[in-house]
């Protein structure tokens, strides 16, 4: 007769090493674990609070420039290397891991207007107020050698911006017109103009690399096609756009940083309505840069703060500021999407975490699981009033805070006036214009 016995397999309860966790047999019967919603709510609340507790985004300040930092550039191959150009014509190369300056070049007389790296990371280009375009080697000169540019191009007018092509040995400058240069030649291969105003910045599309976008001081954003050597379309906004940035994951999306405190995300195929208007700044937005994941972007403003916006949200999810940080002129999101750098008027470059409460360094699997769970809980309960309040709470400098209040009042007054006008006029005679359309003056073909 075969005797049936209770069998206990040690594999089911004995851990392999003493470093393993003890295996705990679980019973998932819902009757044994009641109150799931209240319990998870409390967990979400705690997670949200902890997120605020651990939100310490500021990592380091790189000082050394003797004038305001005017432009920044990332190294395409090396995460630790950053280049910056200052208003006194000095270019510095920084090492982020050591947090020090590894090289200093007196590149131009006057401002360094623009700086960009070659796609391979072997050299970089600068343009300055002295009407020159200079190409530099990324590696420093040998001991005792002079710091000399590889090439220098002397132009007729001042160049205000530069950007390098993502794949080929071609770069574009802007000033009076958009010039496209071959690296080997001293004359531009083609120049494109549309109107006669000075162009403040030009950017290559990182995906469809023949596309260019530029913004000029006559309030317009112009798109160019390099292959056909022709401008494509022009959109005129309410106020001047300072710079634009293309989304690195979505070929036709770009975001423009505008003087009217807003940022506009456009689909370049439909310029008459921006996809999203991002509002939160209280002064002119000076620079914008996308996260390499294409899900968020960071903007630098004259109001001495930087803000992080989700691409599909009109309000920012994060604002960074310090007492000492003055008008932020340039901002960059590092290529591993973990950090943000900003250069400001008071000669410092600051390094921030992109996710304020994120723990740096290697996480154990348990930590990772807890982090993911907390994140999901926060998402799940984000609409609950207490959680929303805690998650949204940010400390702001008094100037920004009062500005926000003031602008809220102004906006409300404007809205009320408009409502009143609609109410007291013949129905249909006053058109209702959506917020998105309000800021676009015209689209020129």
């Amino acid at each position: 007769m075969k005797v049936k016995m209770l069998s206990r397999n040690p594999d089911n309860y004995v851990r392999e090493t003493k470093l393993d966790l003890q295996r705990v047999p679980r019973n998932y019967d819902p009757a044994l674990h009641p109150f799931e919603v209240p319990r998870e709510y409390v967990r979400a609340l705690n997670a949200t609070k902890l997120e605020r507790v651990f939100a310490k985004p500021f990592l380091a300040s790189l000082d050394g420039h003797r004038d305001g930092v005017n432009c920044l550039a990332k190294h395409p191959e090396n995460l630790a290397t950053v280049l910056s150009g200052a208003c006194d014509g000095e270019v510095r190369i920084w090492n982020l891991t050591q947090r020090n300056c590894i090289r200093t070049i007196q590149a131009h007389e006057g401002f360094v207007r623009g700086i960009c790296t070659r796609f391979c990371g072997t050299s970089f280009f600068t343009v300055g107020d002295d009407k020159t375009v200079k190409q530099w080697k990324m590696d420093g000169p040998g001991y005792g050698d002079e710091e000399e540019p590889l090439h220098t191009i002397l132009g007729k007018t001042v160049y205000t911006g530069i950007d390098h092509h993502w794949k080929e040995a071609v770069f574009a400058t802007c000033g009076q017109q958009v010039d496209i240069w071959d690296e080997q030649r001293t004359n531009p291969i083609c120049s494109m103009t549309w109107g006669f105003d000075s162009i403040s910045s030009v950017k290559f599309n990182p995906i469809e690399t023949f596309l260019l976008g530029s913004c000029a001081s006559d309030r317009n954003i112009v798109l160019y096609d390099m292959r056909q050597a022709t401008p494509l379309k022009k959109v005129i906004l309410d106020m001047r756009t300072n710079t634009i940035c293309w989304n690195p994951m979505e070929a036709f999306i770009f975001t423009a940083a505008n003087e009217d405190y807003n940022l506009y995300t456009f689909d370049m195929r439909a310029l008459d309505t921006p996809v999203m208007v991002h509002m939160d700044h209280v002064s002119a937005v000076l620079d914008v840069d996308y996260s390499p994941t294409g899900k968020e972007f960071v903007s630098a403003s004259f109001d001495k703060s930087i803000r992080i916006f989700p691409v599909d949200k009109s309000r920012s999810r994060e604002v960074y500021h310090t007492k000492r940080m003055q008008h932020v002129i340039c901002v960059k999101w590092t290529s591993d999407s973990k950090y943000i750098m900003c250069g400001s008027d008071e000669m410092n470059i600051r390094l921030w975490k992109a996710n304020a409460s994120e723990k740096l360094g290697v996480l154990t699997s348990r930590e990772k699981a807890a982090k993911d769970y907390n994140q999901k809980l926060k998402e799940k309960f984000q609409h609950y009033p207490h959680i929303k309040r805690i998650a949204r709470h940010r400390h702001l400098p008094k100037s920004i805070y009062s500005q926000i209040q003031e602008q809220r009042i102004m906006k409300e007054a404007r809205r009320r006036k408009e409502v009143n006008r609609i109410k007291h006029s013949k129905p249909g005679s006053v058109p209702i214009v959506s917020e998105k359309k309000k800021h676009v003056v015209a689209v020129v073909k």
Partner: protein, 766 residues
């Protein structure tokens, strides 16, 4: 209009007038001021009036009436019906050949169509831009599905391009790798010298050569051979496995015996042929025994033994197994020399036999050797359990041995007693099932005499007392073979008790402990037996109410079983009512206890009261607006009249039915909790279209408390995953499976300056 008029006039006028034409160009003005004849004016007026009806307005425009008269200031077409042809204008007064060329040219010009005005530059650029934009938009629209997919993706892992683990074939690695260190070089030299395969490590060149050398037939034969060998091996393995699975102990015993015999035979053979080898073999066997002896395998310290020790209290088989093990231990730890001493003369062969077949041979020897209660006990149990025909000589032998102990008075008294007791007790246990056993002692007694003679000769110690005891007992046993065992045992404990007290160190095994307990039981048992004898069961001590508690515990297992099996017959017996009464009493006691414990509170009534109060409180109240003393006498003790009260009483409307109306055990409060409300969502959040949707997402828990590990992981996957320290490059066409444009992004002008000009021309024609 003006131009037309000029043309008309021009056609009608004479040649000389043509010369003046530039001068007369503003015709209408000339008309107005030049001629002062009122007649014409009058005419004009008339015509204007006549054309008021709207019929003939066009005529007015011709204004040809003035040229009825030819004036030198005016050109008129009126009058002459013919039109001026260009050739007429050129015709000179007299034809001259010099004008022929001009004529020709003119005709050529006339045959050609006029060229349209070219579009201005801005217009052209606009068209260019539009075309280029449309083209670009088309190019970009291929990204639509990719972008959409990425936006809706559950999870995005960056960097997008997967780094494939580079698994290069070993040849490539080796070709790229060079031995640098001296050690590496040495190794390489060696390998190359021996022509060891570096890349394909399966066969050396030598092996390959040999393989090639083997003929086909040979190879086939070899293969067949290998196959056969493999098949045989597998058969053998299967057989071994099968045999190993057989559980029968008998079978294994037989097999073992067979093997031993075979070994012995072989050994004999070996001794004859090669004595030296035989000696070696012998040593080997001896060594194996020694090892076994040293290994303490059969001590009761193992896991199995411990578990058995616990079980032994209740389980007969376990007890026996333990005994067996103990005996084995004894046997193994016994010095072999003692046994072999008596048979030294027989030589090495005997020794070997003993070693190989220890179970059978050694037992007897050791029994004969000295007092070894463990051994004996195991022997008896063994034989009884087996009770087979296969080793018939064993049983009588042992029986004889047991009796020989009792008969021969050489043993120390206590040991003998214990052994006997154990023997008998075991028999008593067996008795329940085997009724036919009664005959056994009688049968065995006969064999005893024959077998015991030998044993007796060896044993020389006697004790008078013991002898007497045994004799008396034996007589009893033989005479009262059919009497129940319990009865037979009666005298034993009385005698044994002092003896047991003398040797407390003996009480080591559980068996003996049990024994002690039982002895007491048996003592107590004597009283109620007459009552229970009718039932033919031996469970009386358990159910007796006045029995000591310890004993109850000891026998609990049996007790339960007995109760189950013998419930129906026990109904009639006298003892039963007492038991039932007892149960009743217990229950009553229990109830009483509960009552006492909860004497103070009547929970149900309290709850009902509470509920009533809650219902009352939640009911809307009537409003009484009567004012005492208003319109009538008032004062102490005076009440407003019923009519007035009825009039001013505002009845509250009946509220909606309570939710707990039909739930007697529940109070549902329908008040809104403001403290909870602060934590609740007031408006439906954006992506949800119905509140139920939102509630469902909230109600499904995602924590590991409610989900399995796998589900938990799935539920908490982050939307965007990035690797720290990895550069995320912009998305590329290759990443998503598109062909990236092979064309260079360089401007068209630079690559192909001609093309752009041709296209310009085409567009101009459009």
């Amino acid at each position: 209009m003006n131009v037309n008029q000029v043309a008309e006039n021009l056609a009608l006028s004479h040649q000389e007038e043509l010369v003046d034409l530039p001068k007369n160009y503003p015709l209408s003005e000339n008309e107005d001021e030049g001629d002062s004849d009122g007649e014409r004016k009058h005419q004009k007026l008339l015509e204007a009036i006549s054309s008021l009806d709207g019929k003939n307005r066009r005529k007015l425009a011709e204004r040809s009436e003035a040229s009825l008269k030819v004036s030198e200031f005016n050109v008129s077409s009126e009058g002459s019906g013919e039109k001026l042809v260009l050739a007429d204008l050129l015709e000179p007064v007299k034809t001259s050949s010099s004008l022929a060329t001009v004529k020709k040219q003119l005709s050529r010009v006339k045959s050609k169509k006029t060229v349209e005005l070219p579009l201005n530059k801005e217009e052209i650029e606009r068209i260019h831009r539009e075309v280029a934009f449309n083209k670009t938009a088309q190019v970009l629209s291929k990204w639509d599905p990719v972008v959409l997919k990425n936006r809706q993706a559950e999870q995005l892992v960056f960097p997008l391009e997967k780094e494939e683990p580079a698994i290069a074939p070993i040849e490539h690695v080796l070709s790229g790798w060079k031995a640098r260190t001296p050690l590496e070089q040495e190794i390489f030299n060696l390998l190359h010298k021996n022509k060891q395969p570096v890349t394909d490590p399966l066969l050396t060149p030598v092996e390959k050569a040999s393989l090639r050398a083997m003929s086909l037939e040979e190879a086939k034969m070899r293969r067949a051979e290998l196959q056969r060998a493999r098949a045989l091996q597998s058969y053998y393995e299967a057989k071994a496995r099968r045999e190993k699975k057989i559980k029968s102990k008998k079978y294994h015993k037989v097999v073992k015996k067979g093997k031993a015999k075979k070994a012995l035979k072989e050994f004999e053979q070996l001794r004859k042929v090669n004595p030296a080898a035989a000696l070696e073999e012998l040593e080997k066997i001896e060594k194996a025994r020694m090892m076994e002896r040293m290994s303490l395998k059969h001590q009761n310290s193992g896991k199995w033994a411990k578990s058995k020790a616990i079980m032994a209290k209740y389980d007969l088989e376990a007890r026996q197994a333990m005994q067996e093990q103990l005996s084995k231990n004894k046997e193994l730890t016994q010095k072999l020399q003692v046994a072999s001493e008596s048979e030294e003369e027989e030589g090495g062969t005997e020794d070997v036999e003993e070693l190989l077949v220890p179970d059978v041979v050694n037992e007897v020897q050791m029994n004969a050797d000295g007092p070894n209660p463990w051994m004996l006990r195991s022997c008896t149990s063994d034989t009884k359990e087996a009770a087979t025909q296969e080793d018939p000589e064993q049983l009588p032998e042992l029986e004889a041995h047991g009796v020989s102990e009792s008969e021969g008075e050489e043993r120390p008294m206590a040991e003998e007693e214990i052994l006997l007791r154990e023997f008998e007790e075991r028999r008593s246990l067996r008795k329940r099932s085997e009724l036919s056993q009664d005959a056994e002692p009688a049968g065995s007694q006969e064999t005893i005499d024959s077998g015991s003679q030998e044993v007796l000769s060896e044993l020389r110690v006697l004790s008078q007392k013991l002898k007497e005891n045994h004799q008396s007992r034996k007589q009893k046993a033989s005479s009262e073979g059919t009497i129940p065992q319990v009865q037979r045992e009666e005298p034993a404990p009385e005698e044994e008790e002092p003896l047991l007290l003398q040797r407390p160190e003996r009480v080591q095994t559980l068996e003996e402990l049990e024994e002690l307990g039982k002895e007491e039981c048996f003592q107590n048992k004597e009283l109620p037996r007459p009552v229970l004898e009718e039932q033919q069961s031996e469970r009386t001590p358990n159910n007796r109410p006045d029995a000591p508690k310890e004993k109850k515990k000891k026998e609990q297992m049996i007790d339960l079983q007995n109760l189950l099996t013998t419930q129906s017959p026990s109904v009639k017996s006298l003892a039963v009512p007492t038991i039932e009464e007892l149960e009743d009493e217990e229950e009553r006691n229990h109830r009483q206890m509960i009552k006492e414990a909860f004497a103070g509170d009547d929970v149900i009534r309290d709850f009902l009261k509470e509920k009533r109060e809650a219902v009352e409180a939640s009911k809307p109240k009537d409003v009484d607006l009567t004012l005492p003393g208003w319109g009538e006498w008032g004062g102490v003790g005076l009440k407003p009249s019923a009519k007035k009260r009825r009039r001013f009483l505002i009845k509250a409307p009946e509220g909606p039915p309570r939710k707990d109306k039909n739930l007697p055990n529940v109070i549902i409060s329908e008040k809104r909790n403001i403290h909870a409300a602060a934590h609740q969502v007031q408006v439906l959040p954006y992506p949800f279209t119905h509140h139920r949707q939102f509630e469902r997402t909230i109600q499904t828990p995602i924590g590991s408390t409610w989900n399995t590990q796998r589900a938990f992981q799935k539920l908490t996957t982050p939307k965007v995953v990035t690797k720290p320290g990895h550069i995320i490059k912009p998305i590329k066409a290759e990443d998503v499976g598109y062909q990236s444009s092979s064309r260079s992004d360089l401007p068209v002008i630079q690559r192909n300056p001609k093309r752009i000009t041709t296209r310009h021309n085409k567009e101009e024609k459009l």
